[in-house]
């Protein structure tokens, strides 16, 4: 299939931006929603199959869970779209940006305290992704 979009450099950049934003934001958003749902549901009392099934059934009744799963599915298809264009060794490191989104999201959305050390790690991840992007040209 020919891709006329490739001809226009600007449109190509925009598409790239949209796909990676979807991967990072939808992926992290999905995880945050699932995390929120599961924290409300509570942990399994034991690892017995009957208890695990009970927890799953309880989780399926929480709307956050469905929202989360939907967002994670979106992120997966965006990942497939990215892999059809770019090399794996570029796409996967860039998805590490989800650590950055996760730190902001969990502080704002789940009320978690993000420590200085964790911010430092997040900063390092961001620098690493920037280097990977610079190294792809």
């Amino acid at each position: 299939m020919a891709a006329p979009i490739l001809v226009q450099r600007g449109a190509f950049r925009l598409r790239q931006l949209i796909i990676f934003t979807l991967i990072v934001v939808a992926g992290t958003g999905g995880e945050l929603c699932v995390s929120r749902a599961m924290k409300g549901v509570g942990e399994a009392r034991s690892l017995r199959p009957s208890d695990i099934v009970k927890v799953i059934l309880r989780a399926l009744r929480v709307p956050w869970m469905w929202l989360g799963v939907g967002m994670m599915a979106t992120a997966f298809f965006a990942l497939l779209a990215a892999l059809s264009i770019f090399s794996v060794s570029f796409v996967v490191p860039v998805t590490a940006l989800s650590y950055v989104a996760g730190a902001f999201g969990s502080a704002a959305f789940l009320g978690e305290r993000v420590t200085t050390q964790r911010w430092l790690g997040v900063l390092l991840v961001a620098i690493g992704v920037a280097l990977v992007c610079l190294g792809s040209h």
């Binding site: 299939m1 891709a3 979009i5 490739l6 929120r36 924290k39 409300g40 509570g42 690892l47 298809f77 990942l79 497939l80 779209a81 892999l83 059809s84 264009i85 090399s87 794996v88 060794s89 570029f90 796409v91 996967v92 490191p93 590490a96 650590y99 730190a103 789940l110 009320g111 978690e112 305290r113 420590t115 050390q117 964790r118 430092l120 790690g121 997040v122 900063l123 390092l124 991840v125 961001a126 620098i127 690493g128 992704v129 920037a130 280097l131 990977v132 992007c133 610079l134 190294g135 792809s136």
Partner: protein, 179 residues
Amino acid sequence: MPLQRRPNEGESAIFLRRDNIRASFKPTTYNRRRIRPCKQPMRPRRLFHLTTYLLIAVMIIAGPLGNVLLGMGMKHIGEFEMWPPSQLLHAGLKIFTTPTIWLGIASLIAFFVVYMLVLSRADYSFVQPASSLAYGVVALLGYWILGERVSPLRWVGIAVICLGVFVVGRTNPRTAGRV
């Protein structure tokens, strides 16, 4: 060398584990059965650790392998248009009839199962930094299997990402209660 002292009578193993989070960068494994005193003997510790390390090795290979297989399948399909939706449906049909994609998904599911298994045996603050190695493995596999050109700057970037994930993972995994 014992990594942690055994729980005393009536003392929760979970508490011991908490004390040990920052004590050493080794998986502080614990035996679920020891939470309540019981007659069953603990499994040999060395074997337990060895299995944990092996599972982590499987984990940091299965995840990247899944991504590489997905990449292989998607490169085979090629770029596709995302608009109008009929085009998207067409692309979706192509994606789900490609065997390599299914292999990749199977590999990612295997990764997820092993990840859960590892988390049930070792601390999250050990597992997450260890899993950051996957970013290096994905570049190696891309280079070996797909023949991708990885520039030196990209290697440096990947190393910095690993370091960042390592630092993130060495922080307290739980700071908030129930939402």
